[in-house]
Amino acid sequence: MANIILEAKNLSKAYPMRGGSQLTVLEDINLSVREGEFISILGPSGAGKSTLLRILSGLIEPTSGKILYHGKPLEEAFPSIGMVFQSFALFPWLTVLENVEVGLKVKGVDREIARQKAIKMLDLVGLDGFEDAYPRELSGGMKQRVGIARALAIEPEILFMDEPFSALDILTADNLRNELIRLWIEKKLPIKSIIFVTHNIEEAVFLSDRAIILSHNPATIRAEISINIPHIRNKNLKEFELTVDDIFTILTRPKIEAPFMLRKERYQFLPHAKVGAIAGLLELVLSKGGTIDISEVTTDLGLEVDDVFPLIEAAAFLGFATVKEGDIKLTEVGMHFSRSDLLQKKVIFREMALKNIQLINQIYQVLTTTEKKRMSEDFFIEILENHFTKDEAWNQLETAIDWGRYAELFAYDYDSGELYIEEPESEQLEKV
């Protein structure tokens, strides 16, 4: 077995919330990274993958637990780290070459040597001839090449990549992935290991030796899967598809939880999915006879797994579908829903949302019990902020408003920022 470079022991991260409570983002994470390993950290959006990556790289401190580099605590080890960002994080006022040199100059490398090294790295990522261009002249793919070259220039032991290709279009991302893995297996990169964060299952299976799968709210390690398919991996291979299905199953399995009334400990997390898209997915499943393989959905809709993921989750939450071993299956209600016309759909959706969705149920209860049948959004945000971060609280409310509007359970007045129940009289007036 190769040397262990990095080891994380019992990492947890919690942020203090209003009212003295804590929001736990990461819980009890244990992992180790060996020389020569390409590891991916996989989880749904907002799971805390990026937080984990930043803790491992020493950018932020964990609330508890420790990180060892070659057996030494992080603070004493002064490890050299390379990081590639989703947003590229290039300095727009520096040329491509200057951007790559930045890391070297800080370390006090002689100017001439720094220049040569930077040029070498740019050649490696296929950017020779672009040295004097400014980032704003480059396409997204080119920019990320600069980002990679900058991270590699300081010859770090571990290269951290935070969803490096998810801001790029599919073709460009595919191209860069291919080049990255080629350089990696040909051992042309001046690094020992890569930790790669992604929410794209296929990407993780295509690239990594080991996928660490996180759950969310809070993130814990749900499983570690070794991937031993020889590179360069073919996405159409049976083995590849099976691995993707496996991971997908792991990701969805515990999601079908008991109805919220029975759960006490944790607030239900609404996946950010629009009603129209959920209905579309259900109709697709119905057209395939009520059961569909997840990889079929992605190819049929031309979407990536992680785009479909919230839709499936939402459908499962609402009780329209179940997920088993990479298959989506419509329930009785789901079948009925998909076959109905718009008005009937709304009736079914209303019933299911009230029954299964905690937030919608609560909003409805509050609105019906208040005298004016109106309540400010701030009231709900305040409740949600006890369970989620500020941004997430707004996301949750936005999703609930979208669903509630569709179900005609309640409406939302943007100008006053109030949720309210429409009076039947006014509805009649509108029809006239």
Partner: protein, 570 residues
């Protein structure tokens, strides 16, 4: 239009290099000149000569004053931003303090600053010079400090993480991230600030406190003196020289800076139009400057390395030295003492205000409030239609823009003598006249913002309006007003602030050796400052700041939020 300037090299040094050398030489000689001048004794009143041959000498002095005040403002802004960003506590304190400070009218600082400086340098000219510079500084600094703070608050997290991962020292972060990020905002605000400096130059080069009359040689005092003697021709010539200097500085300094700062745009796409400045082109040609720049850059790298290594060693040694703790607590105690002492003095001064004074203050406040609203209303009436017309028709804009820019660059205060002259001739009092004077100072903010707003209306919305034949009033209601609303609000906020500040110089004017005044908060401030009535000065300043802050908090801020939320075009 692109102006290409290339010069043949002369014996290894290009003409660009020569120009750079001349500039460097000029700066050094200027420093010596000022040093020699200011070391001298305070000269008598009569020493401001109205002979034209002294004009260049006056211009150099005035420009230097504004320049030094500007450099101080820049340093202060950066230091303030740094302190504010240090932690959450300093941030809340310093930013609300800034909000209050910027609402205090500049000239209220005058007596205090002047007396302090004179007691520091009795009978030396440098004392009065410093007082003048500090006053100009207080007129320039606040918006720059806000701009810098805002810029460094909005640096993307990823960029900061890049700095952290590569272990930038604080110094290196400042040079490589903070400064570039704030460059564009700082340049624009510097232009505004310096324009403000010219505005107050008239009041900051000549002032009367009690029975003492202070005059500094400068273009501002030249115009003022000419006005006092009723010599309109000299006023006009002085004004002309001032405008020429302002336009000249714009070409020589601001335009190159604006073009250069475009480099620091934080956008990902390339914009279609790149601006040009021939002065900048000359500087870019210079090999000498390039060498100097290169040398500076490698020094910066070296300093950073030294700092990083030092920090590595420091982490091994003790974390917090007792010296530092002692220093901070001493500073805190000192601050506390100052605040206490200031509070007691303030209380003391306010207790001298009689009930009559109080009624007068309220009356004056009401009158000035009406005047500022009047000025803003009149300004809106003509700037909104014209601004929209210019903004929506690029061709008109191209013709009118330079004319407007020159008109706007004339400091309104310099026009005052001419206007007062005609006002007195017609027989109108300063009661309404001061509204007109305020208007002069503030209308441009509105006009520029309206133009910007109107030119940002998307073409497809304009097309829709045409398609549905939405015209006249309806077009204003549906398309134009909502589109320009956010810009209009920004313009109104700046204009109102400007109007309050202008009230001090426009409700109390000295012309032809006589004081012209009308009741108002501004004139109370000017008058009590001139007569050395500190209680009244303090009370009226307090009231004005209170009104401005209240208006900002409860009217403008709400309108601003509304504009951001509802009328955003995205």
């Amino acid at each position: 239009m692109k102006i290409q300037v290339t010069f043949p090299p002369i014996k290894g040094i290009s003409l660009s290099d020569l120009i750079v050398l001349v500039i460097l030489f000029a700066i050094i000689s200027l420093v010596f000149f000022l040093g020699k001048e200011w070391k001298g004794d305070l000269r008598s009143v009569a020493s401001i000569s109205l002979e034209y041959k002294y004009l260049p000498y006056y211009v150099i002095q005035s420009v230097s004053r504004i320049g030094i005040a500007y450099i101080l403002s820049l340093i202060f802004s950066i230091g303030y931003g740094y302190l504010a960003k240090k932690n959450k506590i300093t941030e809340t304190i310093l930013i609300s303090l800034l909000d209050i400070l910027q609402s205090i009218p500049v000239l209220s600082f005058l007596p205090g600053v002047l007396l302090a400086m004179i007691s520091l340098f009795p009978n030396k000219r440098i004392g009065v010079e410093l007082a003048s510079i500090i006053l100009i500084f207080t007129g320039q600094v606040w918006n720059m400090a806000f701009s810098y703070y805002n810029s460094i608050s909005t640096i993307p997290r990823d960029i900061l993480e890049v700095a952290k991962i590569h272990k930038f020292s604080k110094f290196y972060r400042f040079i490589k991230i903070d400064l570039p990020f704030s460059a564009i905002g700082l340049v624009w605000n510097s232009m505004m600030s310096v324009a403000g400096g010219w505005f107050f130059l008239m009041a900051c080069e000549m002032f009367v406190i009690k029975d003492r009359d202070f005059r500094l040689p400068g273009i501002g005092s030249f115009i003022q003196m000419a006005a006092n003697e009723g010599d309109l021709q000299k006023v006009f010539i002085g004004l002309l020289v001032m405008v020429i200097i302002i336009v000249f500085l714009d070409i020589l300094i601001w335009r190159p800076l604006v073009v250069w700062s475009q480099k620091f745009r934080f956008d990902t796409v390339q914009s279609e139009e790149e601006k040009e400045s021939f002065v900048l082109n000359i500087l870019r040609e210079s090999k000498l400057l390039e060498k100097i720049w290169d040398g500076v850059e490698s020094r910066i790298d070296k300093i950073n390395c030294y700092l990083v290594n030092k920090k590595k060693q420091d982490t091994d040694s003790i974390k917090k030295s007792p010296v530092k703790i002692f220093f901070i607590s001493a500073l805190l105690i000192g601050l506390l003492f100052l605040v206490l002492k200031g509070g007691i003095t303030a209380f003391d001064m306010l207790s001298k205000i009689t009930s009559q004074d109080f009624v007068l203050l309220i009356k004056a406040g009401g009158l000035s409030l009406l005047r500022t609203f009047g000025a803003i209303a009149i300004a809106s009436i003509w700037t909104v239609p014209l601004g929209v017309m210019i903004g929506m028709k690029p061709k008109v804009a191209n013709i009118l823009q330079p004319v407007i820019q020159i008109a706007a660059s004339i400091p309104a205060t310099a026009l005052f003598p001419i206007i007062i002259y005609f006002l007195l001739k017609i027989g109108g009092g300063l009661g309404f006249g001061s509204v007109f004077l305020m208007l002069l100072g503030t209308q441009w903010y509105l006009l520029f913002n309206v133009i910007a707003g109107a030119s940002s209306i998307p073409q497809d919305l304009k097309d829709i309006a045409d398609l549905y034949k939405i015209k006249g009033l309806r077009k204003w209601k549906v398309l134009i007003l909502p589109s320009i609303f956010p810009y209009l609000v920004t313009g109104l906020i700046t204009a109102t602030g400007g109007a309050w500040n202008a009230s001090i110089v426009s409700e109390y004017v000295i012309f032809g050796g006589e004081v012209q005044k009308t009741l108002g908060l501004g004139s109370l401030i000017s008058e009590s400052s001139a007569s050395g009535n500190f209680s009244m000065l303090f009370a009226s300043t307090l009231l004005m700041s209170l009104i401005v802050v209240t208006l900002n908090r409860f009217v403008w801020k709400r309108m601003f939020l509304l504009a951001e939320e509802k009328f955003r075009l995205d």
